[in-house]
């Protein structure tokens, strides 16, 4: 199978993730879309690793997973606290950071 197809799939996944981040209001869904974009990146790393025949891309994919796991921990904690204080998971409700 042509490895370029993996890149097409990754681009599609990334676009879906980005669109989700921009469009959806629910913090959980936005969070999931971010994960989707991270995984699209992982997919490109692995695909390029295969295409170029070295392991650098695969190693970086592991790094990305570790970072993503850490991010999930912090991110979910923030979302839980946000929900507790505002009784809503909408990112638009948390718009206090403006002048």
């Amino acid at each position: 199978m042509n490895p370029v197809n993996y890149l097409y799939l990754a681009a599609l996944l990334f676009t879906i993730g980005a669109a989700g981040v921009l469009i959806r209001r629910n913090a959980i869904v936005v969070f999931m879309c971010i994960e989707l974009m991270l995984n699209a990146c992982n997919l490109t790393f692995v695909a390029f690793s295969r295409m170029h025949g070295n392991l650098d891309g695969q190693i970086i994919a592991f790094f990305t997973m570790v970072v993503a796991a850490a991010e999930v921990v912090v991110g979910l904690a923030i979302i839980v606290l946000l929900f507790r204080s505002r009784h809503s998971a909408s990112v638009d409700d948390a718009s206090l950071m403006k002048l």
Partner: protein
């Protein structure tokens, strides 16, 4: 080095000590203060006389004495010493200052008898003497400047001595401020001298004039002239002298007639070498003198206040001196000679005026005098002799000194000589006119006395003298302490000029210091002398017709345009007000306007535009995380697109 040189400092120290004792001594000296003040003044005179005798005993070229007291400011490349120089010129001034000064101290004992602040008055008088002596004894311009400011301070304190009178307080301030303008000239001249010559000592500065560019010397000369104008009340800085008559009369006699106002003449004569090397500045001096001598004389003609008429006369006579000093070596000696004779007769006239006021409930309006010769015989005779001296009656002091100045003015040569000479002649005629007017109004004619004004309504009444409202004045001769100085000064007014002119003794005396050349007027001296006498007779005649033969109204008539202008000091205050005060106000206002619109405009405009811009940019921060995400994606997309484009190119 002889012992007499050590005495020079004593001249200054004696009155200075007197001032310190009197001003710091407090009330316990109230009873004896006037004696202490007079004693110190007289002590200074005695020292001066001793030095004079000592000086006479030496050859003409060895007479200059010098005493260094201490190094004042010894800095690398800048040396200022407290050192005195006593030469023939300084000696003349020392004798005049201490002599007339002592007489006026004696006079003040009687004149200020009822003033409860008499001790302070004598303290100020002593302070004045010390400063004035410092001025004429200094051997460098910087020390001269100390004395120059000192006399200004003393003058301020004494004009405003009756500071409870708003007019006196204002007059003192006015004198001080106008003098500052002149002082500025002197200080800049001194700075200029230092940068040019590297020293301020008279000797080196005046010797170095030959090697200096004429432009620099002209600048220094004009600045010195400005200084002289301020101190000597010459046009255009003359406006303070008339108001200075608010001070007690002895002050007017000593400071504003005989001594301090002649400091400008001293300065110009002392700096003669500078002016000799800068003909333009010298001509400016002569012109200022000529203008002022007419200006002062016209003002003197219109004033009804006896002291202000005399003040106009002082201005005019100093104009003569400045004119003579502006003629160069043919005039310096005569300027100083007129200065000394003027010191005698003008001080005598002022003391006479004080004596008249003393007897007339402090009335100063001559229209309310009249017929006083019978009641105040001594005052009449002494005042009359002073009068004859000032108008230049042949044989009296003023005749000799003024005639010499007129001759020297003609001898200047060319058109200038004719103009200056004729101006001086015209001045002589006007002098005769206004002085005859003063004389006739005061001592002749019928009595025009008025009852004393209500002191509440007329706050100008001097304190301490009991005046009962509605009471007619009882003119009486003044006490001996006042008449004796008047008699002594009258002797001076009569004989000084003749004595000085005998064998040209005064000119020969001053010659080593001021240089002297015989002027050669285009017409013979006899013609000029006759013309002077004719001018005198004309002025006298007109005044007699106007004031001697017709009754004098008690209230001044409206008068011609010139008379009204002259009553207002020829509009000098109006001029100053319109040009300087208004001009200054407009200048400040326009500067404030420029500051507010332009300078503030730029600053505020910059701030406002940044503020407005930030206000717009602020809207970008709306707090919505998704908006930030869009800008982040957008930015990344642009970056990637740019990178790809760069690679493609």
């Amino acid at each position: 080095m002889t012992n007499s040189e050590n005495l020079i400092a004593l001249l200054v120290a004696a009155p200075l000590l007197g001032a310190v004792v009197l001003l710091c001594g407090g009330r316990r000296l109230d009873r004896s203060g006037h004696w202490i003040g007079t004693l110190f003044a007289a002590a200074s005179f005695v020292v001066g006389a001793v030095l004079f005798v000592d000086m006479l005993g030496k050859g003409a070229d060895e007479r200059a004495m010098h005493q260094s007291l201490y190094d004042w400011i010894p800095v690398e490349g800048f040396q200022a010493d407290v050192a005195f120089q006593l030469d023939q010129l300084s000696m003349t001034f020392v004798l005049l200052i201490t002599g007339v000064g002592s007489l006026i101290h004696v006079y003040s004992i009687g004149y200020m008898e009822h003033d409860e602040r008499r001790r302070r008055f004598f303290g100020y008088l002593n302070l004045f003497l010390a400063a004035m002596l410092l001025l004429v004894l200094a051997d460098n311009y910087l020390l001269l400047y100390v004395g120059w400011e000192g006399v200004g301070l003393a003058s301020y304190l004494l004009i405003g001595f009756w500071q409870h009178k708003p007019s006196a307080a204002t007059a003192a301030k006015k004198a001080f401020l106008v003098n500052r303008v002149g002082d500025m000239g002197l200080s800049i001249a001194i700075m200029l001298m230092f940068t040019t010559f590297g020293t301020f000592t008279f000797g080196p500065v005046l010797e170095a004039t030959g090697e200096t560019s004429e432009g620099t010397l002209t600048a220094i000369g004009l600045l010195l002239l400005l200084a002289a104008c301020g101190k000597s009340a010459q046009v255009p800085l003359q406006s303070w002298l008339g108001d200075a008559m608010e001070g007690p009369t002895p002050v007017s006699a000593l400071i504003h007639a005989a001594t301090m106002v002649t400091a400008g003449v001293y300065l110009i004569t002392r700096s003669g070498a500078i002016f000799n090397a800068a003909p333009d500045a010298q001509l400016a001096v002569a012109v200022v003198g000529a203008v002022t001598l007419i200006f002062g004389a016209i003002v003197g003609c219109a004033k009804d206040d006896i002291k202000k008429a005399l003040a106009g006369s002082t201005m005019s006579q100093i104009g003569y001196m400045i004119l003579a000093a502006g003629l160069g070596p043919i005039g310096y000696a005569f300027a100083i000679m007129h200065l000394v004779t003027h010191g005698f007769f003008k001080a005598g006239l002022f003391l006479g005026a004080g004596s008249v006021m003393h007897g007339m409930n402090d009335e100063v309006d001559m229209r309310k005098y009249g017929g006083l010769r019978k009641y105040m015989p001594i005052t009449f005779v002494t005042f009359g002799l002073g009068y004859l001296a000032i108008i230049g009656f042949p044989g009296l002091s003023g005749f000799f000194s003024k005639d010499k100045i007129i001759e020297a003015a003609f001898a200047k040569g060319g058109t200038e000589g004719w103009i200056l000479g004729c101006t001086a002649l015209l001045g002589a005629a006007i002098t005769a006119y206004y002085m005859t007017r003063v004389m006739l109004l005061t001592f002749f004619g019928e009595k025009r006395w008025q009852p004393a004004p209500d002191p509440d309504k007329a706050p100008s009444v001097e304190p301490g003298i009991e005046v009962h409202p509605g009471e007619m004045p009882h003119p009486h001769e003044s006490p001996k302490s006042m008449t004796i100085p008047m008699v002594v000064l009258a002797f001076g007014s009569v004989f000084a000029g003749g004595l000085f002119s005998l064998n040209d003794s005064f000119v020969n005396w001053l010659k080593p210091v001021t240089e002297f050349e015989h002027g050669h007027p285009p017409i013979s001296a006899t013609v000029i002398t006759s013309a002077t006498v004719v001018a005198l007779v004309i002025g006298l005649g007109i005044a007699y017709v106007q004031y001697g033969r017709r009754p004098v109204p008690t209230l001044a008539p409206r008068g011609s345009l010139l008379t009204r202008a002259a009553r207002r000091d020829l509009l000098q205050d109006d001029f100053n007000h319109v040009v300087l005060v208004r001009g200054g106000e407009h200048l400040t206002r326009s500067l404030v306007y420029v500051d507010h619109t332009l300078v503030d405009g730029v600053v505020n405009g910059t701030a406002a535009s940044f503020g407005g811009l930030s206000g717009r940019l602020r809207k970008l921060q709306n707090g919505y995380a998704r908006t930030y995400a869009v800008s982040m994606f957008g930015g990344t997309a642009v970056l990637i697109a740019a990178t790809l484009l760069m690679r493609a190119v």
